[in-house]
Symmetry: none
Subunit: 282 residues, 3 copies
Amino acid sequence: METAALRIGELSRRTGVSPELLRAWERRYGLLQPVRSAGGLRLYSARDVDRVHAMRHHLAEGFAAAEAATMAARAPAAAVEIPASDALRAALSSFDDEGANAAFDALLARLSTDTLLREVIVPYLHELGERWERGEASIAQEHFSSALLRGRLLGLARGWGRGLGPVAVLACAPGEQHDLGLLAFGLALRARGWRIVYLGPDTPVASVADTVQAVDPAFTVVSAVDPKAFRRHAAELREVSRQTRLCLGGPGADGIDAGAGILALTGDPVLEAERLTELARA
Amino acid sequence: METAALRIGELSRRTGVSPELLRAWERRYGLLQPVRSAGGLRLYSARDVDRVHAMRHHLAEGFAAAEAATMAARAPAAAVEIPASDALRAALSSFDDEGANAAFDALLARLSTDTLLREVIVPYLHELGERWERGEASIAQEHFSSALLRGRLLGLARGWGRGLGPVAVLACAPGEQHDLGLLAFGLALRARGWRIVYLGPDTPVASVADTVQAVDPAFTVVSAVDPKAFRRHAAELREVSRQTRLCLGGPGADGIDAGAGILALTGDPVLEAERLTELARA
Amino acid sequence: METAALRIGELSRRTGVSPELLRAWERRYGLLQPVRSAGGLRLYSARDVDRVHAMRHHLAEGFAAAEAATMAARAPAAAVEIPASDALRAALSSFDDEGANAAFDALLARLSTDTLLREVIVPYLHELGERWERGEASIAQEHFSSALLRGRLLGLARGWGRGLGPVAVLACAPGEQHDLGLLAFGLALRARGWRIVYLGPDTPVASVADTVQAVDPAFTVVSAVDPKAFRRHAAELREVSRQTRLCLGGPGADGIDAGAGILALTGDPVLEAERLTELARA
DNA sequence: ATAGGTTTTGTCAAGCTTTTGTACAT
DNA sequence: ATGTACAAAAGCTTGACAAAACCTAT
């Protein structure tokens, strides 16, 4: 996993706590248990950074160091605040192209693609879907928001077919127009080194088959919001699954009995991307 | 076959590489294998000129002579400048994401948005449409191409809602999925100072009406490939046309009797953008 | 595949890492495992370039070299997010024309024009200026960077005079050659719907006056790095300010007593563009 | 917080080899 | 035209060095 190994100086720089104090906290409270390099240097993980931040936070609250340390050791992760995501939401719901782009830029500058997807995009898509079901979202706003987000995500997607990693073919099922979730999934895969061939919304199963033949992917993902889209083409999909490792994704894959050798990806895009990557490693 | 037989002096003059060096390259790397005259003189073909040019190109890129030679021998044409629009076409039809983006970038760096749209994108869309009608285009390729171009065009569209110009609302008719032409039209308008509110594919007429109410545009354009999309919603559209200056666009607007006060935009996107701008100036 | 074989000098040039250091990284961490030529020279692949970039990226993040190396070696190079702005900087400072253009394209796809200007171009210009003052930047280096950026910005500027928005006339003061800041300013205005008439470096005040007469702009901006450029032509400028809303821009406008009715624009280009647009809206 | 020792890491040098453009003799 | 020679530029290996960063213990 996260083997990011910081030395004490960098940890100090990132947390604003002197190396001496960091060592003291280790000795006295066992706050951190860094691994050591061959030569004996302490090597810290990214999680340790959080832990030190928590420690400082508790100290500032007035707790004694010993207490602060046990608290920090127990609950290292404090929620990250992402105010810009509210700004994005607000701009999208008022047709404010400029504001939405600025907010997106701000998020992009501060977060990794992964975090952006997980913390902002995916929740927003969920939210939109729910408002939609409850009849609250204006269709006009949904269209505006989708077009804008699609543009930004496709911007991030640029060049995602290049490189050396395994190839994944992504397509929406026939009739399916909602491709934002699939885009997010593609980006998450890309961040893990995959190469993406993206066919977009409403792709006939035969086209997926053609593409599979042409590029020989490690995985193929067909996505839909509505399970009917899968049922309607069950036979064809089964056929495709004989030529490639086939996955069904999106909310529509939830109730589906995928059938032998077909994998259902029903979780959030980033999670499923992680899972698929683990699977491919094996 | 191109039997144009150059002697080494002429080859040297054409390529700017000294005869000695040409011979050295032949001896050391086998870069060229000229036929010999009866008297033993080297006779080079036109292709050899390309090969030497490629060699020089690779050298300029920083490759070592030995490497440059093998590269030049393998792909003599690689150094030849393929017109970027052909390169784009070729890359799109072979699922080459990287190549397509590079070609698009090259075009972008050399052409104005307008020229890019008029000379490259619009012709390409036409071509695709025709191949489609004749059943020649693979659907898979069309999807891949559309997704990629959509991404790039939406990338250019960024921030097109800001500023000072008049506002135009753009939407595809209900059921209509082809938004690339509409996107191109929006970009052409933007290049003329308009602000764009873009609703994207398959937009219910009621949503268009909502948006018109919210942003009060100078023009509203609804686009479709199939005229039926307009006929099916004729009444609603007439209703909308009472609140805004309404235009119908795309191939589908061709045979339509638009009705009083409704403008049909049937020409190519850039042309129509120009026309609308003239109209707005008046 | 890509067997492009670079020798160590070229790899060094492309990555900005000295050959000695590259060899040290190989020996100590096994970062790269180049194939060898018959004579024993190291031959690197394109993938190795990515790997070195990743290594540098991790180093910049504060990781120890040993850790950075294992991270760079493990991750598929494409998965490491190297901020394109760093890539641009690196390419510019190593005279890597191709790399710089690619980085610029990547930035363009990812960011809005505004963000690109504010977060990348303007800071880079500052940085260049400072290095220049401290005598660290070579003239060649500055020329190369300026020429490349000017080309790209002018590429973005294409067609910025057409359309419907208000007109702004932009010119560098007599003797002033630095127009990149002014270009950035023009682009920021364009992104807000303005039409730009751009006169470029070293423009006689009389020419500005002529242009003002011809196009009747909403604003006219004259820019200089050195305040003396303004002082020397104070009288003429005052004269021009009677025919148009005149602004003085650039670092040189900072200490200037602009005089009645003359506006000084001393902030960063994007900010000032926003300000002017607000002013025009009123 | 300091002292005294260790590890890590970028840089340099010496001496020798390979690569490659050019020159020269046949 | 051919083949050989040559010299500058670029690389290779080994070994060493020193500054910065870290360690432990007091």
